[in-house]
Amino acid sequence: MKQTYKKIPMPVRYVINTLLFVAFLIVGLSLIQSGVITKYYTKVLMLIGINIILTVSLNIATGYLGQLPLGHAGFMAVGAYTAAIFMTRSGLDASVSFPIGLVLGALMAGLVGVLIGIPALRLKGDYLAIITLGFGEIIRVVLLNIDSVLGFKLTYGAASLKGIPKETNFLNTFLCVGIACLLIHTMMKSRHGRAILSVRENEIAAESCGINLTYYKVLGFAASAVFAGLAGALYAGYLGILNPSSFGFMKSIEILVMVVLGGMGSMVGSVLSATVLTAVPELLRAFSEYRMILYSLLLITVMIFKPSGLMGQYDFSLSRMLEHVFNQKPAREKTNHKAGEKNG
């Protein structure tokens, strides 16, 4: 090669992405302020945001770590209830207690993730799926019945935890989505992220290279739980009422469907599929009864024509795209640089 491939230096990449993020935020906020995006669409956008966080977080465990946990709704429930109980009990002003609740929810879910991860991750494949499913259900059943064990009202069980301040709005959802995506992205680009990927590719090879399997599995699992907890806390502030039945097995499956549809191991795929799968049932409201059929048809169609998910393992990078454009102009003949795409 005569000419070296021009690369955009690292700080510039971050600046580009930050600018883009802020631009999106400002556009979104101004559209909401001016009423172009109505309250209804704002609600749908918030739900999309919450589902994006859920999907990218499960993507850590499923896509990057290569495990199949089926108890993701459980971690979401832990985050949601922790935040909700803190917000309703702390006596602080809602604008103060909500950010604290978000952090607490995420941390508590992470803690539960570690506790569950240590025994559960000794298993693989189907067995891991079953045991995480079991733990997810245990979390739900505990939330449902803990009051009668404790003897005082904590989660209010089946009667629902009510009166949670509705603090979730477009701004804080958007920020949380940004933070979650950024943290997951940087983690996956780091040494720890590469170790997690190596566990997915081949456990024996990874172990023989000196990678502590248990440590990295639990790390990935806990990171996944942390962000699920964050999403749960946002969900609590969105809904204003929590019932353990919202966090059942089907919720876990719903999130898993989003991950698989987007492509396991692709963050942009997760974001895209969470957006599409949340928006589609709402957009199809006009078709009333038929909307659930259309939703299922869409899922089936994608899975038939694109079994690896919408994006496979491809991850979108704006900087890489820009680099591609810059480098193509002077050197047209260079075609061998494909952006690491390996879909099936």
């Binding site: 109505t38 669409y41 019945n145 069980g157 009667a159 629902s160 039945s245 024509f305 694109k306």
Partner: protein, 410 residues
């Protein structure tokens, strides 16, 4: 080839998402059933009064949601056919929430964006409480025909009444108390067993009230069993109950479960009388006539009891068939009656339709006009207590030859 197709697919989906964002409200104004509803409406001219109807029209609880939708729609169609209110037609905006609180909130917000002035709904208690959280800050008048949880109109923790929310059904504790009293006075029961769905507010609410009342009226609760949502085998709990041989078994659950429970109890040789709450309505399709014979449940609606009820039933069956004709169709019909009376009053006040004063006028009018509404589930009118619950007597229903028949008012 495959790649091309998939790219086209992705593009289509992305486009559809964008298209939806661009033209949100203009596309449809009435997502209601085109079948009977629109045919009955004469060409609406000029202004309309928009009323939302929200509930689970698909999924596990569709029987309730559809009954509420049809019942309310039936009355509104009748009003529209007679010329509407103040020359204005009532336009219904109907959305499905699948029984999911998250969807209930988005659907409700969409209705608000589309300009509803009042809401009939939500249907399930949990969903209703979630919607109240959205509706209370904007003072949206709400009448629920089926949310029986106390929390829908009153927050016990902060002792606040949600002044914008009313209901045309009665509340959970009321049903439990009535059934305990009925068991003691009319059935002469001395011992009772309770079988509840532990994950359910409705079931637990009724059971708690029943147990509390039992202690008062001298019934000994000898067995208190629970099961989880989705269970289909109740033999373990029923065997425990069988050992105590109670006079009555209070089973305040939804009809599918009740049907299975009764069938399995009879298989085990349990002969006790079953008692239930209004969730039993529709149970006759889920257990055999012989097994159900002699069970009692409390309801808000007595089929075929008066001429007004008979006329309602005939109209309902003509428009929607008999499949969803149950108690909540009747309470929804009443809810629509109360709402129309209130809207008429609010129209007379001269406030602009949909404005804040208008909504407040509707809320005030529900309280003042309610007592004069002769409903089909409450002939004495709808007087609301301090928690916006209607004051009315319960209907005791019994099962004879597999038919849910009216026993008495109690």
């Amino acid at each position: 080839m495959k790649k091309l197709l998939s790219i086209a697919l992705v593009a289509m989906m992305a486009l559809s998402a964008l298209a939806g964002c661009a033209a949100p409200v203009a596309t449809d104004t009435s997502a209601s059933d085109a079948s009977a509803a629109d045919a009955a409406q004469p060409a609406a001219s000029g202004e309309t009064i928009k009323v939302g109807i929200l509930g689970p029209h698909t999924g596990d609880y569709a029987v309730y949601g559809l009954a509420v939708k049809n019942g309310a729609q039936l009355y509104i169609d009748q009003v529209n056919a007679a010329g509407g209110i103040n020359g204005k037609q009532i336009e219904t905006i109907v959305y499905d929430n699948k029984g999911d609180s998250t969807e209930a909130i988005t659907a409700f917000t969409r209705m608000v964006d589309e300009g509803i002035t009042a809401l009939i709904g939500d249907v399930l208690s949990g969903n209703t409480i979630a919607v109240v959280g959205e509706a209370n800050p904007i003072n949206m008048p709400m009448i629920t025909a089926s949310a029986t949880a106390v929390g829908a109109t009153y927050n016990a923790d902060t002792d606040t009444v949600y002044t914008n929310v009313f209901r045309s059904c009665f509340i959970d504790p009321f049903q439990g108390e009535k059934m305990a009293q009925y068991a003691a006075e009319k059935l002469g029961a001395k011992t009772a067993a309770v079988l509840t769905m532990t994950g359910d507010d409705y079931s637990v609410g009724l059971a708690d009230a029943f147990k509390a009342k039992c202690a008062e009226v001298g019934i000994n609760v000898v067995a208190d069993e629970g099961y989880s949502k989705g269970d289909v085998d109740f033999k373990a709990q029923l065997t425990n109950i069988l050992a105590t041989a109670p006079d009555v078994i209070f089973c305040p659950n939804y009809y599918q479960d009740d049907g299975m429970i009764v069938t399995q109890a009879r298989e085990l040789g349990l002969t006790s009388t079953f008692l239930g709450g209004d969730g039993w309505a529709g149970v006759s399709a889920y257990a055999s006539a012989a097994d159900l014979e002699g069970s009692y449940f409390c309801s808000a609606y007595a089929p075929g009891s008066t001429d007004a009820v008979k006329k309602f039933e005939a109209d309902y069956t003509a428009a929607y068939g008999a499949d969803t004709l149950n108690m909540f169709a009747a309470t929804a019909y009443d809810a629509a009656q109360i709402l129309v009376a209130a809207l008429t009053k609010a129209e007379a006040s001269g406030a602009a339709t949909g404005s804040d004063e208008y909504k407040q006028a509707v809320i005030d009018a529900i309280k003042t006009e309610g007592p004069s509404v002769v409903g089909i589930t409450s002939e004495t009118g709808y007087t609301f207590d301090e928690h916006n619950n209607p004051i009315k007597s319960a209907v005791i229903m019994t099962l004879t030859d597999g038919v849910e028949t009216f026993k008495e008012m109690y």
